[in-house]
Amino acid sequence: MRRALVVAAKELVETFRDRRAMMMTLATAALAGPIFLALIFNMIASQGERARTLALPVGGAERAPALIAFLEREGVRIVPMPPDVHARIRAGELDVALEIGPDFAAEVAEGKPATVSLIYDRSRDRARASIDQAESLIRAYARQWGAQRLMLRGVVPNVGQPLDIVAEDLATPQQSGALILFLVAYYGLFAAVMGGMPLALDATAGERERQSLEPLLATPATAGEIVAGKWLAVAAFAGLVVVVTLTGFYLTLSFAPLPPVGIPFLFGPREFGRFLVILLPMIALMPALLLWLGSRGRTIKEAQTNLSLLLFVVSIVPVAQLFLQRREPDWLVAAPISGQYLLLNRALRGEALLPGDLALSWVVPAILTLLALWGIARRFSNESILVGK
């Protein structure tokens, strides 16, 4: 154990000596939060802005003066229809436009449904708020007009409205802003992997590449002690990077002058602590996996190739979960990465963190960590690591 600590101390000293790499790693970790949150808040704020002062190009406005008056009363700014409206909407310069059909007046006079066209591109996220607003205003106008017609014929307007839909939104304040929650969890998870990477590669493939592994293995330190020491060092550093990343998010969310976008969600000291507890198995497992993959490379470059698969899995799993529409199955909490991501989301949504779930999320990563460390120790005591220079 003493020797393991000697190895760990030496690895950490060496890491902190590499100033430039250190600064890069820590700066990236610290800035991830502020930068991404700034982008998202900016997006949300501008969406709100667009929706509030909807500028709606209307073609043939003179054919439906009552509709135009209604829209203007609702605070919509009516602007003339540009000739190339389709191209502009496709290019994202305009969100939505309204075209009053040429036979509008005639159709109204005959008592037929009169045609108005809304032109938009729903694949544009930024335009969605404007589209929804325009659509609901026009529907409201149609409802109002319909009700008036029924009353003129002596019918209670309720006849045409058999359902009264009451929307009951169960999202707690913390549940909104899913994208921000996703990013905080995602970056917390990613920090555990990325943080330990340079050190893990240097401590394994690096030792082989610069020919320092053989003399190290000839000392009285056993392969187990050497591996334990290297793992301790990488895990400690990965833990540091996770803490720095979360601190970046925490400081941004608590102190930065954020625009009032109506997404009060929780990332306070309690969530910070929960995040660390949830991420602990990753801070143990990822360094072990990184070291294992690193020990299979003769050079750092070769080891980096081995790492790409791990990085792919870690980055794709949370994204896949984000798009998963069904409720997550219960066993998912036990799966590494998925389990952590799931619990991180629960913690952010302010849900209770059950000790049983937490314990379950630790089991598989703990077993994998031990397996990986055992694998590296075996590899280090195998003669092929010396022969395969």
């Binding site: 003493r2 020797r3 000697v6 190895v7 030496k10 000293v13 060496e14 000596r17 590499d18 030792e207 610069r210 020919q211 320092s212 592994l213 053989e214 003399p215 190290l216 293995l217 000839a218 000392t219 009285p220 330190a221 056993t222 003669e383 010396l386 022969v387 220079k389």
Partner: protein, 247 residues
């Protein structure tokens, strides 16, 4: 003292490469024993087995009376190894590189620091020991590698081609270092494919070719056995050719 009895080692998937084949010799304490042979003769494999890094397939070897397979940990405690791979940690200073090995050998405190400083003085590293190993010359790197192999004051020292890549001045300094270790009663075993070096330094010589011992003995015994005038001629005669050797 190193005692090697019928040591053998095979490599390859089906053991088709016989790297060391039935090798026996004795390297006594207070002497320098040279392992001479062309490249690929099995010298490095031999030394790695003695350093307990790889396990022999057959035979046994003891260092200071301890078996290299059964008493691995005890052997390592008293053994200094300067292997063919002698990379340093570039971001640590020379002194820190040496201290790391001292700590791995369980040395601590003032004793350890005294020992490190003594080695640094002895090897003429005083000027560079505080600098990062990154910028070291070949010779300086070599000296740090020697210092870390000797830091725990081992009784037995194994050196694999120690003069490889060194300039003349460094080679001479290394020779002096080895002689003073011999004078201190250490058992030294070093491998080389350079005839001059072995002839100049060794009390005993073991000649290896294709994994087997071709001849062994003192310089006088080898010359007598080969019936030649000089030791160099004796090497060539005993090996059958001088191929793979350097003068």
């Amino acid at each position: 003292m190193i005692v090697v009895e019928h040591l053998a080692k095979r490599f390859g998937k089906r053991g088709e490469v016989l790297a060391v084949d039935d090798v026996s010799f004795v390297a006594p304490g207070g002497e320098i024993t040279g392992l001479l042979g062309p490249n690929g003769a099995g010298k490095t494999t031999m030394l790695r087995m003695l350093a307990t890094l790889i396990a022999p397939d057959a035979g046994r070897a003891t260092i200071g009376g301890r078996d290299v397979v059964v008493e691995r940990a005890a052997v390592r405690q008293r053994l200094g190894v300067l292997s063919d791979a002698r990379g340093l940690y570039p971001r640590l200073s020379g002194r820190e590189n040496i201290r790391y090995y001292a700590a791995l050998h369980g040395l601590r405190g003032a004793d350890r620091d005294r020992r490190i400083e003594a080695l640094i003085d002895e090897l003429g590293l005083a000027d560079v020991a505080g600098r990062r190993a990154q910028g070291y010359s070949q010779g300086e790197r070599m000296k740090v590698a020697i210092a870390r192999a000797l830091v725990h004051d081992p009784d037995t020292i194994l050196l694999d081609e120690p003069t490889n890549g060194l300039d003349i001045m460094s080679v001479r300094a290394l020779r002096e270092q080895l002689k003073s270790l011999r004078a201190a009663g250490k058992c030294l075993l070093f491998s080389s494919h350079v005839m001059q070096e072995v002839a100049a330094l060794c009390d005993r010589i073991v000649i290896l070719a294709h994994g087997r011992v071709v001849a062994h003995g003192t310089a006088g015994e080898l010359v007598a056995q080969a019936g030649t005038q000089s030791l160099e001629d004796a090497f060539v005669t005993l090996l059958g050719s001088g191929e793979g050797l350097a003068a």
